[in-house]
Symmetry: C2
Subunit: 143 residues, 2 copies
DNA sequence: AGCACTTGCATAGCTCGCTATACAAGTTTT
DNA sequence: AAAACTTGTATAGCGAGCTATGCAAGTGCT
């Protein structure tokens, strides 16, 4: 039974993700941000005041993971959590001014990281690459 | 400034890696294995008795991460660490019988997971997918 | 031989992901 | 209205990754 890690999609996916994560980590560290907060920030920059439930749905992240991430974000002054007026269970998440101000530099950092990592691919390859990953992800979401 | 997470290579890479990791986790849990040990096991199944240093180099994993992973592996009876005879600093890592016996079922599990996740791609797409990820990884390794 | 330097590993402490569990606030059933 | 169920968060505890730091074992210079 032969198995080469360098031909294994799962291994390669993990390796590549670590590389992206390390790069983004160092780029956004000067902003006082960490990678785990990024997805939540993207959603909130788009539509502020989402509930924790809505965030987990949009990001395919477990509820417990989101709760912990939001706790760190609140600790670090990026968000405030307020009880929903109509539903005493729900927590609505609101960005602070600081978080709003970080949008542009943070997105720039992410774009730079993406561009650098894909520098070895031509335009066609980049499109294919994105499309293929999306397809693999969709295979899970639908199955 | 527009930025869509679903067009961001870094975000997609992270998401895809999480999906692979969750799938493999559940598949190898019955074997008493976790994903973090998998890369080290692959190397050791191929050539037993590597040093910790050699493992970190072959897997592009930080030394501290490897030390922790090996500590868990030793705790779980997968490996034994023995001082190198010629170099009192180096630890050589040796598989236990149990770890050797797990090779075939573990690799089967990984192959099944890979196959399932790539089920939505045709043969040509699979080849392209692997090749593109390898290329992205290589961009880091060379730069 | 003695000193500084390098190398291999371990440890501390953090983020971020997960599962399992608890619990209070809603909702439905009876 | 009370009981049973569902839903939204929080917490505990673990794995896996990282940086920073410490330290003992080897190497090199003088």
């Amino acid at each position: 039974m032969n198995f080469s890690k360098d031909q294994s999609a799962g291994y390669l996916a993990n390796h590549m993700a670590r590389i992206f994560a390390q790069g983004l980590t160092s780029r956004i560290k000067p902003l006082g941000l960490t990678t785990g907060t990024f997805p939540a920030l993207l959603e909130l920059w788009d539509t502020d005041g989402l509930s924790q439930k809505q965030l987990t749905e949009r990001l395919d992240i477990e509820q417990a993971t989101m709760a912990n991430t939001l706790a760190r974000m609140e600790r670090d002054g990026l968000i405030v959590r307020k009880k929903d007026a109509n539903d005493g269970r729900a927590q609505r998440v609101w960005l602070t001014d600081r978080a709003r101000d970080l949008r542009d530099p943070a997105i720039t950092a992410a774009q730079e990281e993406n561009a650098m990592r894909l520098a070895g691919l031509d335009e066609d390859e980049k499109r294919q690459f994105i499309a293929l990953i999306q397809k693999v992800i969709k295979t899970k979401m639908s199955g």
